[in-house]
């Protein structure tokens, strides 16, 4: 089943290329994209099932043994992330069939979208840190292509900010890789896990760790490095915003989790202490930013930042439960946040606005849309029994268990503000009557309505299902969390038993 790993990356990439070759046939591009999305969903599902049944799945690309070649690794975390990626991808593709249907946009949308999905999966599956950098760059350029398609002024302006700060991030990341290579002589992350323990200058390792915090911090949009996100996420087409909101920052968080459980665990008190502060400040500034805005997508953009704080918090606490919480949080948040962006777009199409000042009458005129907003919004706000509640509960429980009471208090307070923010949208956007000045938009055709609302319904159903029946996702998160907390299995799977033993013995480290 090991071909699944490569397929998860190559299939979308190949379909992206096919899309480019099919330019400018709109219908064919859409068809290819749709088929690819569904096929990817199948691949990702069977990948997760295989990992669930058989444990960590490893492929040595090109047949070169680790740590020499590039290794693709699917542990529970990676496989879960790949599955959620393909769910997002499929939802976005379907949504975009209605949202992005002008020919000029279609041809610039589907190829980079597919490439983005491939790159994100690549980032999740790779076991090689330089390869991770490469996927980051593919992601960056694909997301830039999506960001600017349409070419409105605000898009270009937002793209400049996005590009500038992302480029700084990838440059720092690359520098960090160079330094890490200089210190350890390897790029394979499992190998790095063993070799960093042999580095004499452990202080220098901390310095490089900080470099990685900054680089991934920009990508993940943590305090005080998040500026690019609220500057750009509200500008492109809704389908684009949604997949960005769902996936991109989470790749940063994922990488942080990977690197700070596998490589930089030599001085947890220092590095993870910094992460803890970062998490707290990120939560607070994000939610306050959301409170200061009126436009749906801008509010939601700031909430991404705030929620990233919770995920980083899970990593920073660095206990098994905290990691479980972080993983649960990521998976829940991707579904919910992308869905909220979808809803914001649907509100614009069906109700004429996504600005709280001019939005209104949704509850009366579009009860289904109102219900579809309710589920993800109140899940984000952490209301039980929706998925967000469990995510928050786990993180808060982990904080209390680690006796980090102040951060638990911050998390709860931010939860309250999130609740306020979401209910404010509900009260001022959904309940309020349509303002006299606002016009009703032209009605959508039945088919378009279905395309727009279909993905939203599916994602909302997932949110509800997770909320009412959190057990399965918890089990998955638990396996993933425990796996990353104790990397010995990962290392063993990548390097092979004998090698681990040899290196471990040589360093005097029993794995």
């Amino acid at each position: 089943m090991s071909w699944l790993l490569a397929a998860a990356i190559v299939l979308p990439l190949a379909c992206g290329i096919l899309g480019l070759l099919l330019r400018p046939h709109r219908a064919m591009q859409q068809a290819v994209s749709l088929v690819a999305g569904i096929a990817h969903l199948g691949i990702a599902t069977s990948l997760l099932v295989t990992v669930w049944r058989e444990g960590i799945l490893v492929v040595q690309v090109g047949g070169w043994p680790a740590p020499f070649g590039i290794t693709l690794v699917a542990d529970h975390l990676s496989a879960a992330m790949v599955l959620i990626t393909s769910v997002m991808g499929a939802a976005t593709i379907v949504y975009a069939l209605c949202d992005i249907d002008e020919r000029a946009l279609v041809k610039d949308f589907h190829p980079p979208l597919q490439a983005l999905i491939g790159a994100v999966c690549g980032a999740f599956l790779t076991g090689d840190i330089f390869n991770l950098y490469v996927w980051f760059e593919v992601m960056l350029i694909a997301s830039l292509a999506l960001l600017i398609s349409g070419g409105r002024k605000a898009q270009l302006d937002g793209a400049v900010r996005y590009a500038a700060l992302s480029l700084v991030a990838t440059t720092l990341f690359l520098s960090g890789i160079g330094l890490l290579y200089g210190m350890t002589g390897t790029l394979n992350m499992a190998d790095l896990h063993l070799r960093v323990q042999q580095v004499e200058n452990q202080g220098l390792l901390s310095v490089v760790a900080i470099l990685f915090i900054v680089a991934f911090g920009i990508k993940a949009a943590v305090f005080p490095l998040f500026f690019w996100l609220p500057a750009s996420y509200h500008t492109p087409k809704v389908a684009v915003s949604a997949i960005f909101a769902g996936l991109l920052t989470k790749v940063g968080v994922y990488s942080m989790i990977r690197v700070f459980t596998l490589i930089f665990t030599h001085d947890v008190g220092y590095t993870h202490g910094i992460l803890l502060w970062t998490a707290g400040l990120t939560m607070v500034t994000g939610v306050l930013g959301a409170a200061s805005h009126n436009e749906l997508r801008r509010i939601l953009s700031f909430h991404i930042i705030s929620q990233i704080g919770y995920m980083v918090l899970g990593l920073a606490l660095f206990t098994p439960l905290a990691l479980v919480g972080a993983v649960f949080y990521i998976l829940h948040h991707i579904i919910v946040k992308a869905n909220l962006f979808f809803v914001a777009g649907a509100a614009e199409r069906l109700s004429g606005s996504s600005d709280l000042k001019t939005l209104g009458g949704v509850y009366r005129e579009q009860p289904l849309l109102a219900a579809l907003f309710f589920v993800p919004a109140f899940s984000l706000a952490g209301f039980p029994p929706l998925s967000g509640f469990w995510a928050k509960l786990l993180v808060i429980k982990a904080s209390v268990e680690s006796q980090q009471y102040w951060i638990a208090a911050v998390a709860l307070a931010v939860g309250l503000l999130t609740m306020y923010s979401m209910t404010k949208i509900w009260v001022n956007g959904i309940w309020k009557a349509r303002p006299a000045s606002a016009e009703k938009p032209p009605p959508l055709s039945r088919a378009n309505r279905a395309l727009l609302l279909g993905p939203i319904i599916c994602l909302a159903a997932m949110t509800l299902a997770i909320g009412l029946w959190p057990g399965p996702l918890y089990d998955l998160a638990e396996r993933a969390g425990h796996e990353v907390m104790d990397p010995s299995n990962y290392v063993e799977a990548v390097l092979g038993r004998s090698e681990t033993a040899a290196l471990g013995a040589g360093a005097g480290v029993g794995e």
């Binding site: 070169w64 390897t186 900054v214 309250l416 009260v427």
Partner: protein, 785 residues
């Protein structure tokens, strides 16, 4: 509703059919009474996250059964009532669904065994009540009230959640049964004060204790059936329920007693006073509800004789009062709703003589009002007597007795205001315009009022079946306790008489006595409502100010912050972790290398300082070329060649593009301070980079990977250029990603430079494909010439 495919005309039918659910549940709970009252209990569990001890589990004991009966019993009457009351209103299906959802949440809350499950139902009641209070969602006041109720109880709920988590951490279980089964008290635990404070925050906000009570009167914006159900009998009692539930675990300590009695007493007296100064009938009732909640809280807190216990008789009194209050308050709310429905107003001043037109309503009001005033032989009398006797016996005797006396007296006034004022006196306009109401509306109050009477007459059986099992779940029952209507003459009997007298007096002399407190209450400088507004306003302003500074929209500032963060964090870590390792000796560098470095440095400076675009571009090219020379000198011909060509391309592209942009002549000069600041950050970043790199290169590199590549290049990769073999074989996946970047960048550039004629070009291509290739080639050559 149309969207859900249900014709609007069917909705009332559905609403009526909905009665079946609470009725069936009520009947089922009734059937459990014998089992539970003889000390039995029931338990169900559905696993949720067993690893964390979180389960969806329920159990029925005396306390939860009492509440379950109230919820389903009153729920049945309310749904019946609503099916008539809400007729003709929009969105009835949603309303019914929310009402039933609320009922189920409330049931879940009182039956929950797992604390997390309890919290979930707690929040569900908040959520469903949010939707119900905001039923008139196009009315700003209703929206505000709904949001306020949600947020105020939400603050408490989150605190409570923290308390539960802390409690679970301390006790090792979330299961109430397990908590209650063992020697439960956590009074000695180190986190006890925190747990207590957090749980109380949840209970007090939900049960509207002063000064957090303000959301409840505002929540009267809800339709009357909702008020009658949520804000009298059920939801607001959730806090009281929680206190009762947690009493064996957290109760009995001095902190518990002082807090509960203090808050409860102040709330009861304040709310009773506030209620008699209102003129809106629903407001009067809302404040008496707050009074009742305060009373329950106070009596759950009264300390027992032994240290660390609660007062057994007070617990019985509180439990009895919960039943008493639920019966009369729901009835009176429904009466008020009837008046409003029949006349269109709930203003006391506009009503009079309604007994002639609203006979059934008057009957219900009279029955419930008498119970509320605590007259025999109604159960209200029994409840009040119990309150008085236990307050008298308890440790806080004087204070508690005074508080409950004052509150009860004023409640007598409120009862008179609600049950007498609108029905007696001269017929006013409202009475003349009133139309009759049908049985669904009056059946509820009458049944509940009669129940109050029956329960009063049959005190013993009712207590043994419902009240005592519930009280037994909170604390050990008092010894030799014999409930009954009549205990003979005593000092307490006199107190009861005084209560009625004072209450009646205040009612009689209302205008003169109440004008002073009424004016004061309306003009309190600090009220919860104002604090709420100020808080929200403060958050809005603070967040706007903060966000304006952080997310300024100025890109340079973003970049500056990022690099400053980088320099600061890396620099600080370098120093803190003692990671700086400067080379011990002066490096040996050839003249050529020095020259290269000098050229690069000079070119870089040129790029920074020059006022000519062309010079800047050239200097950029020089930098790239010089660097590629460095590569060439150090054995990297592939890199050098690539770098050189890339640099050429960069210069070419930069030249094409930059020459289309305005030159530096009109450049905005930044002030010196800004330049110094930027320079300082830049130098800090540069210095940090240098220091890190020096430290890293201090040790020779480890070449294990490279050695493998070197030895495998020919046998495995079949190539002699190791770099190329790495690129296309060992690490081909990197290369695949890299060329994807190239392709995507090209596609993105195309998208960016979207031209109109491109579309035409595409069309031309398609046409050409259809036609003979030759003709197109001919055209190319023609145009080329």
């Amino acid at each position: 509703m149309a969207a859900l495919g249900i014709p609007t005309a069917r909705v009332p039918v559905l609403l009526r059919a909905a009665v079946a659910l609470p009725a069936a549940l009520f009947a089922w709970f009734c059937s459990l009474v014998p089992h539970v009252s003889s000390g039995g209990s029931l338990y169900w569990e559905i696993g949720w996250i067993p690893q964390q001890g979180i389960a969806l589990s329920f159990f029925v004991d005396g306390l939860s059964l009492l509440f379950a009966l109230l919820i389903t019993g009153i729920g049945t009457l309310i749904v019946l009532y609503a099916s008539e009351y809400m007729l003709g209103q929009p969105q009835l299906l949603r309303f019914t669904a929310f009402l039933l959802a609320f009922m189920l949440s409330m049931l879940g809350l009182v039956l929950a065994d797992n604390l997390i499950a309890l919290f979930i139902f707690w929040e569900l009641t908040a959520l469903t009540s949010f939707l119900l209070i905001g039923y008139k969602h196009e009315d700003a006041a209703a929206r505000r009230a709904a949001l306020q109720a949600l947020l105020v109880t939400g603050v408490g709920a989150l605190a409570m959640l923290a308390g539960f988590v802390l409690l679970g951490e301390t006790a090792g279980t979330y299961s109430l049964r397990e908590l209650l089964a063992g020697d439960a008290s956590l009074a000695g635990a180190s986190h006890y004060p925190w747990i207590l404070a957090l749980v109380l925050a949840g209970a007090f906000t939900k049960s509207a204790q002063y000064p957090l009570h303000f959301w409840l009167p505002n929540a009267m914006a809800a339709p009357t059936p909702v008020s009658a159900y949520l804000h009298s009998a059920t939801m607001v009692k959730a806090g009281v329920f929680l206190l009762a539930r947690m009493s064996p675990v957290l109760g009995g300590t001095e902190a518990w007693s002082v807090t509960l009695v203090g808050f409860g007493a102040v709330t009861a007296v304040y709310a009773a006073l506030a209620s008699v100064t209102r003129t809106d009938l629903k407001q009067v009732l809302a404040y008496t509800t707050v009074m009742a909640l305060g009373t329950c809280v106070m009596f759950l807190g009264l300390p027992g004789e032994a240290a660390g216990t609660v007062h057994p008789a007070a617990v019985v009194a509180a439990t009895a009062f919960i039943l008493v209050h639920a019966l009369y308050k729901a009835a009176l709310f429904m009466v008020v709703g009837m008046i409003e429905r029949a006349t269109g107003s709930r203003d006391l001043a506009r009503h009079g003589g309604l007994r002639h037109v609203l006979g059934p309503a008057f009957a219900g009001a009279a029955l419930a009002g008498v119970s509320m005033a605590g007259l025999p032989p109604f159960i209200g009398f029994v409840g009040k007597e119990l309150l008085y006797s236990s307050a008298y016996e308890s440790g806080f005797g004087g204070f508690a007795l005074f508080a409950i006396f004052a509150a009860s007296a004023l409640v007598v006034t409120s009862a008179l205001m609600v049950a007498v004022l609108p029905f007696f006196g001269e017929m006013k306009q409202s009475a003349r315009d009133a139309h009759a109401v049908c049985w669904q509306l009056w059946i509820g109050p009458v049944v509940l009022g009669l129940l109050g009477l029956v329960a009063g007459v049959a005190t013993g059986p009712v207590f043994r079946a419902l009240v005592l099992p519930a009280a037994a779940a909170i604390a050990p029952l008092p010894e030799h306790f014999e409930p009954g209507l009549w205990h003979g003459f005593s000092a307490l009997m006199l107190l009861s008489l005084a209560t009625w007298a004072v209450g009646a007096l205040v009612f009689w002399k209302r205008p003169s006595i109440l004008s002073w407190p009424a004016a004061r209450l309306d003009r309190l400088p600090v009220t919860g409502d104002r604090v709420y507004d100020a808080t929200l306003d403060g958050i809005a302003r603070f967040s706007a100010a903060l966000t304006r500074r952080m997310q300024s929209g100025i890109q340079r500032r973003y970049i500056l912050v990022v690099f400053a963060t980088l320099a600061l964090s890396v620099g600080a870590t370098l120093v803190a972790k003692d990671a700086i390792h400067l080379p011990s000796r002066v490096p040996s560098v050839t003249f050529g290398e020095w020259a290269l470095v000098a050229v690069i440095a000079a070119s870089v400076l040129t790029v920074i300082l020059t006022r000519s675009r062309l010079l800047a571009i050239c200097a950029l090219g020089v930098v790239g070329t010089a660097i590629s020379l460095v590569f060439l000198l150090r054995g990297a011909p592939d890199v050098a060649l690539t770098q050189l060509i890339v640099e050429t391309l960069v210069v070419v592209i930069v030249a094409i593009v930059l020459l289309k942009l305005p030159d530096f002549r009109n450049e905005i000069r930044q002030p010196l301070s800004a330049r110094w600041r930027d320079g300082a950050v830049a130098v800090a970043v540069g210095a940090a980079t240098t220091l890190v790199l020096l430290a890293v290169t201090e040790r020779p590199p480890q070449l294990e990977l490279t050695e493998y590549f070197e030895s495998m290049a020919v046998p495995g990769g079949r190539g002699h250029n190791i770099v190329n073999v790495i690129l296309v074989d060992f690490r081909a996946l990197d290369t695949l990603g890299e060329i994807s970047v190239l392709v995507l960048a090209a596609a993105a550039v195309c998208a960016l430079m979207r031209r109109r004629f491109r579309y035409r070009f595409d069309r031309v291509q398609r046409l050409q494909r259809g036609h003979a290739a030759r003709s197109s080639r001919a055209r190319v050559s023609r145009e080329g010439a």
